[in-house]
């Protein structure tokens, strides 16, 4: 058997549903004095699946907590068979888990679970995203008064945005606290949740609609600070500049923003 054919047979064995290899491949192998070929092949087969499942337990701890050991094992096994790893680093193994959940489960079960998968994946993305150059309060103190009205910002590279339609953040929190499962519920109003890294620690925060609107205006629509004030004046009237400064200060303290370079 040529090397490449032997390796293809070995790969097929690892990827197959059962840990018993096909007999023509097993016939190319030798065991040892007390380790037979079938046991040896089962060691590789089980190690392949359990190594990948362990990574998913780590990256999707809240889904594991939600489903329990058995259901999580079934779901991840099906995922690994459907989307075998495509990247050399196990860090990317869970990239398509949210999409898979939507494809694999019935809609009423999949929508809240997929949202959780996206939230947990957002943490993995924030964890090792580029550092960038987040604005600091000190930078703002140095900003000349005449530069304030034209100030424009973008999100720092680690910031992930999720629109939550369910109480996913509450369930995630409960899993971290190892408290009782709070039950999955749809929210009355979808909520923007941010996940990001600041000074090497990951953070998350849900934003009220007004703050979410203001942030999106600046980082997505590209409003300058004076445009932000003008937009907020519709709701806050003469209190608009104060509200704008309060939010901007909060975002900067959180490490969410970088200066937009024209």
């Amino acid at each position: 058997m040529r090397l490449i054919d032997w390796q293809l047979a070995f790969e097929q064995h690892l990827l197959s549903e059962t840990s018993v290899a096909n007999s023509s491949f097993a016939a190319t192998l030798l065991g040892g004095p007390t380790l037979d070929v079938d046991t040896g092949l089962a060691i590789y087969h089980n190690a392949y699946l359990s190594r990948l499942q362990e990574v998913l337990r780590h990256d999707f701890g809240a889904i594991w907590y939600w489903l329990g050991d058995d259901e999580f094992a079934l779901l991840t096994q099906a995922y690994i068979r459907r989307y075998p790893s495509a990247h050399y680093s196990l860090r990317w193994l869970g990239e398509r888990f949210a999409v898979f959940i939507l494809e694999y489960l019935v809609a009423e079960q999949s929508a809240p679970l997929a949202e959780m998968a996206r939230l947990e994946w957002a943490f993995t993305l924030a964890f090792d995203a580029p550092q960038g150059a987040p604005l600091t309060l000190n930078d703002m103190a140095q900003l000349a008064p005449e530069d304030w009205p034209t100030l424009q910002v973008i999100l720092a590279p680690s910031v992930q945005q999720l629109l939550c339609r369910f109480n996913t953040v509450a369930i995630w929190r409960a899993s971290k606290d190892e408290s009782d499962f709070p039950g999955s519920q749809a929210l009355n109003l979808a909520q923007l949740c941010l996940v990001w890294r600041h000074e090497n620690v990951c953070h998350y925060r849900s934003l009220e609609p007004g703050e979410a609107f203001a942030l999106a205006g600046m980082v997505t629509a590209g409003w300058s600070f004076s445009e932000l004030c003008a937009q907020l004046a519709v709701t806050y009237e003469e209190g608009a500049p104060l509200q704008a400064v309060t939010w901007l200060k909060q975002w900067i303290q959180d490490g969410l923003l970088e200066r937009r370079v024209p």
Binding site: Q7, T28, T34, G40, R51, S85, L90, R91, F127, D128
Partner: protein, 281 residues
């Protein structure tokens, strides 16, 4: 007969569980081995600690996904990232495993054994030379544990390692525990394996624990080193002279102090083996 490289002494695998303690206590570890893939990321905590620890300790890069024996083309993007990481932390050397970890279609994330045939030998030797051309340094390859072997073998594993070092100029990372594990699983003599390796190519040693199931042994890196492996380690140093030694632990992480105690044991057993060597010289 001795290894031709200066020894870095006694090192530990760098794991995120221990970052804070290493920086706070500057423990008496001579060097650290880092899993290269953990740092092939754009930013974050791991790189922050890596840079800080690189300022204080010699580092060695140890990869797990080169797949030097794989049926696919070498991943040039991966190699480029390895090269960039090496520029960043200036490792004393770069190692990976004599195995394949990627199949034709997918990443398999395991250290899979190769048939020790002439076909494999020339295939792997050619790929080692390609890697060395990119990295501009010798590649160091580690022997892996295995649970099956191919009937078609033309060589023993140690003959294959000899021939590969000869043909490609690669150096060897001798994992003493892996030799022990494979010797039990396949029924060969571990010392025959070790004493037949080319001394001038031995760059580094690994020590680790395993799981003994009686009929077979699985390389798990989640236990302390066992007595037969310590004995083999002493024989190895007596035979090759001083070689950089690394204690691996990849799971069931004990308190850092326990690893330091085990590392002291390696130092003591190593020193007495080297003393015996100089008496007999």
């Amino acid at each position: 007969m001795s290894s031709s490289f200066p020894s870095l002494g006694y090192g530990l695998g760098l794991r995120n569980e221990y970052y804070e303690q290493i920086l706070a206590q500057s423990p008496a570890v001579d060097w650290f081995e880092v899993i290269s893939e953990n740092y092939l990321v754009p930013g974050g905590k791991a790189l922050y600690y890596l840079d800080a620890i690189a300022e204080r300790y010699p580092l060695v890069m140890h990869g797990v996904s080169l797949s030097i024996g794989g049926p696919h083309a070498l991943d040039t993007e991966y190699l480029e990232q390895i090269k960039q990481l090496a520029e960043r932390i200036q490792p004393a050397w770069i190692s990976d495993h004599l195995c394949w970890s990627r199949g034709n279609a997918h990443q398999l994330h395991d250290l899979l054994p190769l048939p020790y045939t002439e076909e494999s030998l020339y295939q792997v030797a050619g790929r080692v030379r390609q890697v060395q051309d990119v990295l501009q340094r010798p590649l160091v390859l580690e022997n892996v544990s295995s649970y099956v072997r191919s009937k078609a073998d033309d060589f023993t594993e140690w003959e294959f390692l000899n021939a590969l070092a000869h043909l490609s100029g690669c150096q060897l990372l001798l994992d003493v525990n892996n030799v022990y594990v494979s010797s039990r699983n396949h029924g060969f003599d571990a010392w025959t394996f070790i004493r037949n390796l080319p001394p001038e190519s031995i760059r580094q040693l690994h020590l680790a624990g395993h799981m003994d199931y009686g009929h077979y042994v699985v390389d798990t890196h989640d236990h302390p080193v066992c007595d037969p492996v310590w004995a083999l380690y002493q024989q190895t140093l007596e035979h090759f002279g001083p070689v950089s030694t690394l204690l691996e632990r990849d799971d069931h992480f004990p308190p850092f102090e326990e690893l330091l105690t085990e590392l002291s044991k390696a130092r003591e057993l190593g020193a007495s083996a080297l003393a015996r060597r100089s008496l007999c010289a």
